[in-house]
């Protein structure tokens, strides 16, 4: 046996444990001096090496006075007493030499030391090798079973492995039996094609993957020598893995050794650090090596390292503080501020100041109402001297139809309210209307979800059935539900075990069983179906093995539902349960991104253990309070927008310019296509003309995607086509095409130069002087007054334009052109184009 079995304890081990305990009162899971800790797994008090192949990675950690911990594993001196018992290499990995008991001692250069009891048994025995537990991980770690190599569906050059080793039985078949066994040569294992290719002795497209001196190579040789056993049916299987430590604060350019422990179905444990795969989520922040060492760079922030072994995953979270003094913080308005500021203090990153009133007004009006503030709103806000005027502004915007319009625009795209031909207009208009009304009425979010997922009937009676027009298969339905409402991407699990998650095909199809009784019937309108719950016992077939799967929430036990019960209602029950781990978190994270331009988990619809939140405590608190509020979306918007964090200036201070994780300042973002389109119309005093809706209809109020085709503006600025449940379909990137369109598109130029344009009206206005008119122009464009220099610059420009005019007519024309130039210039500024 390779594994160190904890229970039952053989007599030698019991004696050893007694010895360990007799050494004195030790901390719960370590033996340490005051300044040094030797660790490898929570709760472990001794190192047990069982069998010739056993090994254990150790950690040496020095606690600091400020509560942080420093990894000394690779800088410390290791020794074993008695020395013939085992050996510890420079990376802190101990391997057996002979049976017996003793201790491992680590000493720092400063002379501090700590020790751990050590027991070695059966060091002379190589236990039988299990293919799934020991051989398959070699392929995974070395990239052989990756999606770009032998792990892809068709394999590579005739040799196929299951993706990331999720199907060991298939891998065994392909490796040992396929092609008449030509890949392995038991008579001379080192001449096996598998090894000669892997070591690049023979030409190998994938290059050299194995060193002949490596443990992996030796293990493969022994496996082939043993006759390529698959293992016994009752051999234990990995049930989970744990990484240690799970989180740690690292200094800039610091390092941390990780230890990965596999837990088996028979209760045994094994150090699999050398077999595990390590992958940081932000390669600009950290790198890892095959020995389980994480090295962070000189960038402060949060980094997560995904650890994968045999389809199981675990995550290490590293915090890299900047370490700057956080002397003053804006007043905490609510728990959002408390938790963000707590983290900022922890990482030593001072936030920017709170933004000024007018910046706030523009920002919050864009984010809640999807438009820039009116002149009246600016004036009223400027004159308002009350302390709570920002809070009242948020409430006013939330009560307006503009809030419903803007968020309906967002949800309509996510809910795939797509018109692919004219006959669907009735359905898309009705569905958009329903979404908008749900938001205007502040329908609780759990009910909103239930009425979509559980929709039945026809689009006239029940507009949310239009969702089912675009998600027509069980797969579409379950995947969109997971992505949209749970923030989970289950698509991979349809064909194979999710590579970054624990979701298997069984989980996938069990979840899909909730939609197994959805039936489409011909509706009364061409192009619109009637959705019916087909009476019957809900179940879906696992396409991998043909097994009938009962409906089950993710990570839950299957439900036995009566034939009369619409399983979608049970799904909605599960999703809206207060203790559901996904539903509320997914929504608050989605809305967080809306207001803060980056999700606490990002991308917002890819929430998984291996992509953790940058501020988990905040995500938990937001979700818990959202549930407590009764899934009140307006409460959530109000909570986010009223926080001091949201109201921080976008101007960085000397510490937070590179911050992308801690929200130490507001991250500016380009206006969405629709908001920008409307803002340009406001700026130009022009009216939208979309076919089939009243002239002047705002772009954020358009009911479906069909209007994109007639508007190059909306297309080039990335208005989504409502083709997926992913927010990523909306492009927020900047491009040359966008710049060119704003600079010189015929449409923009015509509106700019029309007789009814703002420029024309300002030029013709004789009631106000030029400075007053310029101030008005700046307020419309930037929601602020111009600075003195800006006014003077503009006046000078206008003066130059009109100076050479020969007569009044020429002067009038020049003045108008000057205003056109001014308007054109302002709407091509970043200040206009961005919410900041």
């Amino acid at each position: 046996m390779l594994f160190s079995t904890l229970n039952p304890l053989p007599s030698l081990r019991r004696a050893f444990l007694a010895l360990a305990i007799s050494m004195g009162a030790l901390p719960a899971w370590c033996v340490a001096s005051e300044a040094l800790l030797l660790q490898f797994r929570p709760g472990a008090t001794n190192v047990l090496l069982h069998g010739k192949d056993a090994a254990q990675q150790l950690l040496a950690t020095a606690p600091k006075a400020d509560g942080s911990e420093v990894d000394l594993t690779r800088t410390i001196a290791w020794k074993v007493e008695p020395a013939n018992l085992a050996v510890v290499d420079s990376s802190g990995r101990v391997t057996p030499l002979a049976n017996g008991q003793g201790s491992i001692i680590a000493t720092t250069p400063e002379g501090q030391s700590a020790s751990l009891p050590l027991l070695v048994e059966k060091a002379e025995i190589s236990p039988p090798i299990n293919f799934a537990n020991q051989i398959v991980p070699i392929f995974t770690k070395n990239g052989c079973s990756g999606g770009g190599c032998h792990g892809k569906a068709a394999g590579q050059n005739g040799f196929r492995l299951s993706l990331l080793g999720f199907e060991p039985a298939e891998d065994y078949e392909h490796l040992v039996k396929e092609a008449r066994g030509r890949r392995l040569f038991p008579a001379a294992p080192e001449r096996s094609l598998l090894l000669t290719k892997g070591t690049a002795t023979l030409p190998h497209g994938g290059g050299k993957r194995l060193e002949t001196e490596s443990d992996d190579y030796r293990l493969l040789i022994r496996w082939i020598t043993q006759g390529m056993p698959y293992g016994q049916p009752n051999d234990p299987v990995v049930t989970k893995i744990e990484v240690f430590p799970t989180e740690r604060t690292l200094p800039l350019n610091g390092e941390q050794q990780l230890v990965v422990t596999a837990y088996y179905s028979d209760g045994s444990l094994e150090d699999v650090t050398r077999g595990a795969l390590f992958e940081p989520n932000d390669k600009d922040m950290a790198k890892t090596d095959s020995l389980g060492r994480v090295k962070v760079f000189d960038q402060p922030g949060e980094v997560a390292v995904m650890v994968r072994y045999q389809g199981k995953v675990s995550v290490f979270r590293g915090t890299v503080p900047l370490g700057a003094p956080v002397a003053t913080l804006p007043p905490a308005h609510n728990f959002v501020d408390e938790l963000v500021f707590k983290q900022l203090k922890k990482v030593g990153m001072p936030p920017s100041d709170v933004c000024d009133d007018l910046t706030f007004l523009r920002r919050v009006t864009v984010d809640i109402a999807g438009r820039t503030p009116t002149d009246q709103e600016l004036e009223a806000f400027r004159k308002d001297t009350a302390q709570d005027k920002r809070d009242r502004t948020i409430e006013r915007l939330l009560a307006s139809g503009d809030y419903a319009d803007y968020f309906a625009n967002k949800w309509s795209a996510l809910l795939r309210n797509k018109r692919t031909d004219g006959k669907q207009a009735h359905g898309t208009f009705a569905f958009h209307d329903w979404i908008r009304q749900s938001l205007a009425d502040n329908k609780p979010y759990d009910r909103f979800m239930r009425e979509i997922v559980g929709a039945s009937g026809d689009v006239d009676e029940n507009p949310p059935v239009a969702w089912y027009r675009q998600v027509r298969t069980t797969q579409n339905q379950l995947e969109d539900t997971a992505q949209l409402f749970l923030g989970l991407r289950l698509q991979c699990a349809q064909c194979h075990h999710h590579p970054y998650e624990k979701w298997s095909q069984a989980d996938y199809w069990s979840f899909g069983a909730f939609f197994s009784q959805v039936s489409y019937k011909k509706g009364e309108r061409p192009g619109e179906d009637t959705i019916v719950h087909r009476r019957g016992v809900a179940q879906a077939t696992n396409k991998k093995n043909g097994q009938a799967m009962k409906p089950a929430g993710l990570g839950e036990t299957p439900l036995a539902l009566a034939a009369d019960e619409d399983p979608r209602q049970s799904l909605a029950d599960w999703m809206s349960r207060p203790d559901n781990r996904f539903f509320a978190r997914a929504l608050v994270n989605r809305y967080w991104k809306h207001f803060f331009n980056r999700g606490l988990v990002d991308p917002e619809d890819d929430m998984r253990d291996t992509n953790p939140a940058t501020n988990p405590e905040l995500l938990d608190a937001l979700a818990a309070n959202f549930v407590k509020s009764g899934y009140d979306l307006k409460w959530l918007v109000s909570t986010l927008a009223s926080s001091s964090v949201y109201q921080l200036s976008s101007t960085p201070n000397q510490y937070n310019a590179r911050d992308r994780h801690h929200f130490a300042r507001y991250y500016p973002r380009r206006l969405a296509a629709e908001v920008l389109y409307d803002a340009v119309n406001t700026m130009l005093l022009s009216q939208s003309k979309f076919d089939g809706v009243p002239a002047g209809t705002r772009a954020v109020s358009l009911p479906d995607n069909s209007f994109n085709a007639g508007s190059y503006f909306l297309t080039v600025f990335g208005r989504p086509e409502s083709s997926s449940a992913c927010e990523c379909e909306r492009s927020m990137d900047a491009s040359l095409s966008q710049s060119l369109h704003l600079l010189n598109a015929k449409d923009i130029q015509e509106r700019l130069a029309s007789d009814s344009s703002r420029a024309s009206r300002l030029a013709a206005d004789t009631q106000q002087n030029e400075e007053a008119k310029l101030r008005q122009l700046y307020r419309v464009a930037f929601s602020r007054d111009p600075q003195a220099g800006e006014v003077q610059f503009a006046l000078d420009y206008m003066g130059r334009k009109t100076k050479s005019a020969k007569d009044d007519a020429a002067k009038t024309k020049a003045r108008r052109e000057a205003y056109e130039d001014m308007v054109w210039a302002l709407l091509n500024t970043k200040e206009f184009l961005f919410n900041h």
Binding site: A399, S400, G401, A404, D421, G422, K423, A425, H426, F429, A430, D433, R436, Q437, A440, R447, R450, E451, G454, S456, G457, D458, D460, E461, N462, P463, E524, R525, P526, G527, T530, V532, H533, R535, D564, E565, D566, Q569, D691, G692, V693, P694, A695
Partner: protein, 778 residues
């Protein structure tokens, strides 16, 4: 109750003035069939009793109109002199609120109907200019505003209201044959949205005294003449439904009303279609409703269950009409979702259950009993989808009661899914045979609304002896397609030209009835004849032919079609209901074909032109023929227009004739002989009404009279121009130019066009007698 309509229409002299001709130039008819008068819209769509008002109509072939016809003869109308398509309509003061059908009688017969609402108070007209908030129209409460929606526009209204006074904004559109799908929104004077609805119904409880704004537009921002509406802001009662949703005729019915603004009501736990809790009021309703049964026109499936409309009168005024089924059995109901113990037969009303609730009836029954189970809900206009499960009670030794599923009851009735006549209902009508003695329960469920939240709807569950019965419906036969990808649907009217034979499609819904059904037209207008046909046992479709005599003149009269069957040695006689497509459809894959029942169906003869062709058997007497032999049927052919080549006719009239051979007709011939092989077709002994039918293309010309007028006019103008003195030269030339344009337009209109035509011969009767027995072998 309206009296049967029989009205002779006299077409005036052909020349009616140039203004008629001028209007004709504007018409662009879709000529996929012979022209008939078609009515598209009327405005205003509602009138007050005791008033005389103008109504403007739009449509096709409204030429030479002689007036309007109403399903209630007490209304009268005359064309407004000097105005095109405008009529002066008088509504008597004693007319009760409701809806009547209005038709135009014209050159090409009586048009399809359009609904005209009769209100209970003054009716105002919206000018249509209120398409911006700054031009919002001030409207009073409790008055009806007639208007039509403009395309890509909102319509805005201002009104004053008192705090706390519940108001119901209601838009009638579909019941007026309008295409409008109304969307309503309330706003405060500072433009805060206070409510929104896509159902034409919206409640407002004003938060303060003051001015408010109402917004109205079409669901997809369409508009035009066919998008009419009647809008009211009412403080009166509104009804959503009643439990039970049916009335026992001749009895006083006890039930519960659910709605808004119901004085004396209590708040219920039932949610209405707009999501809020409804008020509930216990009432007695007389089973002799004062509204005509025809007034309420439910969905097509409703022809299998008669219904009526009823209005609730309160101190706050009259409610909107409520659909109620009519039955002769005793009706009871509970105003909740519950399983009620009953004794069969029963007619029990209740509410569909929410999730995890049960609703239905529990009863004892004996093995072998046959019952008819009917659930009425969708057919009353509620958007429900019923499911039903029969369960049997089992008692354990300890007395524990459990139910086990016996049978899921599905709709066993054959319904029709023709595109223009879709009678598919989501209600249930099925036979139920009790498998063994015991206690049972019938549980009902609405598969559209079974969550915990959302609206609930009523149902009536009827379990009665499974007696034989049937229901009939008729619509006009569809003309042939002009080409393979022709996906149009037309508004078809039963208009005959002298010498023409047209076909009606007859549909039968049978309930435990296997016998033959004889279908016949009765009380036909003068000049129209019909021969009864038989819909054989097991069949559910048939064709009834109507023929106009060659010497028939213009006439409009009622169309009454009866079905007669023998069941349990007694005659069952049922009257057919007639349906009509509401609007022409350019592509039925793109837009729905919408139809409705018609009030007072009519037949008419367009006497201004003869049928393009008449084909009839030479003998009007039954042709006697021996079974198993061949019969030759000599035919007379009278062709009046040119046809594009030969065409084929096939004997038909009974299923047995499907194998019979086609007869090729040369339209240039004046006679032909059809041959039917009784051996091949296995036509049984007895009388058989048969005919031949087939598609042909005719080169149709019409408006030759108008062309003649234009020619006379042009000749006159030409001469006048020639003779004009210098001073009159200019005006004479202008007149000539105008006459030339009119002639050009008249030429265009009278130009021959290819029209696909379904040709039916006049029916003839075969009397099949037994073949002589072969002599016995010695």
């Amino acid at each position: 109750m309206a009296k049967p309509l029989v009205k002779r229409v006299f077409i005036p002299p052909l020349i009616r003035g140039l203004f008629v001709l001028a209007w004709l130039l504007l018409a662009t008819p879709i000529r996929a069939q012979l022209p008939t008068t078609r009515l598209a819209s009327i405005f205003p769509p509602g009138l007050s009793p005791g008033t005389t008002n103008e109504i403007v109509v739009t449509g096709e072939f409204l030429d030479d109109s002689t007036g309007m016809l109403f399903s209630d003869h007490r209304l009268t109308a005359t064309p407004k002199p000097g105005a095109v398509n405008t009529y002066i309509v008088t509504v008597p003061g004693d007319l009760k609120p409701g809806t009547v059908d209005l038709r135009i009688a014209g050159r090409f017969g009586a048009s399809n109907p359009r609904a005209l609402a009769i209100g209970d108070g003054p009716e105002l007209i919206a000018p249509g200019s209120n398409t911006s908030l700054s031009n919002a129209l001030d409207i009073p409460l409790n008055k009806v505003i007639n208007g039509k929606a403009a395309a890509a526009a909102d319509h805005w209204f201002h009104f004053s209201a008192k705090a706390g006074q519940p108001l119901i904004a209601r838009v009638e559109a579909a019941s007026l044959d309008s295409r409008l799908e109304p969307v309503l929104a309330f706003y405060s004077s500072d433009q805060r949205e206070l409510g929104h609805s896509r159902r034409g119904l919206l409640e407002l409880v004003p938060p303060t005294d003051g001015h408010y704004v109402l917004q109205l537009h079409d669901g997809t921002y369409k508009g035009g003449d066919e998008y009419t509406y009647r809008l009211s802001l009412s403080t009166g009662p509104h009804l959503e439904f009643a439990i039970p949703p049916a009335l026992q005729i001749g009895a006083t019915n006890h039930g519960f009303l659910f709605g808004r603004n119901l004085p004396g009501s209590q708040r219920s736990a039932v949610r209405g279609i707009e999501g809020g809790a409804l008020e509930q009021l216990e009432v007695e309703i007389p089973g002799t409703p004062d509204a005509a049964p025809e007034e309420f026109l439910p969905r097509f499936g409703g022809y299998t269950w008669k219904s009526t409309s009823w209005r609730f009168t309160s101190i706050n005024g009259l409610s909107d009409p409520l659909a109620l089924g009519l039955t002769r059995g005793r009706v009871t109901g509970v105003a909740t979702s519950a399983v009620v113990s009953v004794t069969l037969p029963c007619e029990q009303g209740g509410l569909f259950p929410h999730r995890k609730e049960h609703s239905g009836v529990r009863f004892d029954a004996k093995k072998g009993e046959n019952w008819r189970v009917e659930l009425l809900s969708d057919r009353l206009g509620f958007r429900t989808a019923a499911g039903m499960m029969l369960q049997r009670l089992k008692k354990s030794e300890t007395g524990n009661e459990t139910y086990t599923d016996v049978e899921e009851i599905r709709d066993a009735e054959k319904r029709f899914e023709d595109r223009d006549f879709n009678t598919v209902s989501r209600d249930i009508s099925a036979s139920l045979k009790i498998p063994e003695d015991g206690t049972y329960r019938l549980l009902v469920r609405d598969y559209y609304h079974s969550a915990e939240e959302g609206p609930q709807y009523p149902y009536l569950l009827r379990v009665v002896p499974d007696a034989p019965d049937f229901h009939l419906a008729v619509v006009l036969a569809i003309p042939p397609k002009s080409q393979d990808n022709d996906r149009r649907y037309h508004v078809l009217n039963p208009v005959l030209r002298p010498g023409e034979t047209v076909a009606l499609r007859v549909y039968v819904t049978r309930q435990n009835l296997d016998s033959d059904i004889e279908v016949l037209a009765t009380n036909l207008p003068p000049g129209i004849s019909s021969t009864p046909v038989r819909i054989a046992s097991g069949q559910n479709k048939g064709t009834l032919l109507l023929t106009a005599a060659e010497n028939a003149t213009n006439v409009v009269g009622p169309m009454q079609i009866l079905g007669r069957a023998q069941a349990d040695k007694a005659d069952l006689i049922r009257t057919a209901r007639a349906a009509s497509v509401l609007w022409p459809v350019g592509d039925y894959d793109e837009e729905p074909v919408t139809s409705r029942w018609v009030r007072q169906p009519v037949l008419s003869i367009a006497g201004t032109e003869l049928a393009p062709i008449t084909i009839a058997a030479e003998s009007t007497s039954p042709l006697e023929v021996q079974a198993g032999t061949r019969v030759k049927v000599p035919l007379r052919i009278k062709k009046r227009l040119d046809f594009t080549g030969k065409f084929k006719l096939k004997p038909t009239g009974e299923t047995a004739l499907e194998k019979s051979k086609e007869l090729e007709i040369d339209p240039g011939s004046t006679n032909a002989v059809a041959e039917i092989d009784l051996g091949e077709t296995a036509l049984g002994e007895g009388l058989h009404t048969l005919w031949l039918q087939g598609a042909a293309t005719v080169k149709y010309r019409s408006f030759l009279d108008s062309l003649a007028v234009a020619e006379v006019d042009l000749n006159s103008a030409t001469q006048a121009a020639k003779d004009a003195k210098p001073d009159d030269k200019k005006s004479a030339e202008e007149r000539l130019k105008a006459a030339q344009e009119r002639k050009k337009a008249a030429d265009e209109r009278a130009k021959a066009r290819d029209i696909p035509l379904m040709i039916y011969t006049e029916p003839f009767v075969l009397k099949v007698i037994p073949a002589p027995k072969a002599p016995a072998k010695s």
